[in-house]
């Protein structure tokens, strides 16, 4: 069982990332927050392995299982609550950059959930394909190909805007 200060450190380092990952899967901020709560209750109850290659990957594996269990329990609700894109990225001072961030959120929302989650793990959590495969318990080649599909779709969806913004 982690000490209170360790749990606080884990929160500071990973809570936002874990929340956005959960939110991308369950597509509801309220449910993602509940799952984040469950995630920390679980963390308070277990001991983290002493030597972790990648703490974020280890924690995301736990979060992924929680999210998959949630999806199994709420299969019928998933489609109903995925109408609006979630706010994933911080506001940018530059209006063009902020517009681009909102468009990326919208494009992410249009990706299939399995491609979106892998794009998020790769781009914003910095995981390797091996780690992604481990987090989601899928073959490495599947992780790599889903990522490629996701990037190509994002490229297509953002092309006109991205071409305008690019220097």
């Amino acid at each position: 069982m982690p000490h209170a200060s360790q749990l606080e450190r884990l929160y500071d380092a990973h809570a936002a990332g874990v929340f956005h990952y959960l939110n991308g899967i369950v597509k509801s901020e309220a449910d993602a927050k509940d799952l984040l709560q469950d995630f920390f209750i679980k963390l308070a109850d277990v001991s983290l392995p002493a030597h972790l290659d990648n703490e974020r990957a280890y924690l995301l594996r736990i979060a992924h299982r929680l999210a998959i269990d949630w999806l199994r329990r709420h299969a019928s609700r998933e489609k109903a609550e995925s109408v609006h894109p979630q706010a994933v990225f911080a506001s940018q001072e530059d209006p063009d950059a902020d517009h681009f961030a909102r468009r990326v959120e919208s494009a992410l929302h249009q990706l299939p959930a399995d491609q979106r989650s892998i794009a998020e793990l790769k781009l914003w959590h910095g995981l390797t394909f091996d780690q992604i495969a481990e987090v989601q318990r899928i073959p490495l080649n599947t992780a790599a190909s889903r990522y490629r599909y996701a990037i190509e779709k994002l490229r297509c969806l953002l092309r006109p805007l991205y071409d305008d913004i690019q220097p």
Binding site: A44, A87, A90, F129
Partner: protein, 96 residues
Amino acid sequence: MKTPFDSFENDLQQLDLRELPAHWKDEILAKAHSAPRRRFAPPRPLAIALAAAWAVILTLALLTPSPRDAAVAQKPPVFAPDSLFALNQQLTRSLP
């Protein structure tokens, strides 16, 4: 497997994830600390199966004679010398 990003991926990666509302931290950590600790408990079907298995094992153990009892039962009866003497006398008396 680490693959290099192209410029599009780099631009995406530059976007910072939104921070969580500050008050969530205290709320979530307080609940995490005060939540009752979970003890190991097998899933209900497994618990029922285990209980049934133990009931069968105990029943069989009670109904099956132990090997020592079986060995004793197979041995010919051993008579005490007094009993043998009395039996001998009875036989002698009964003979013509």
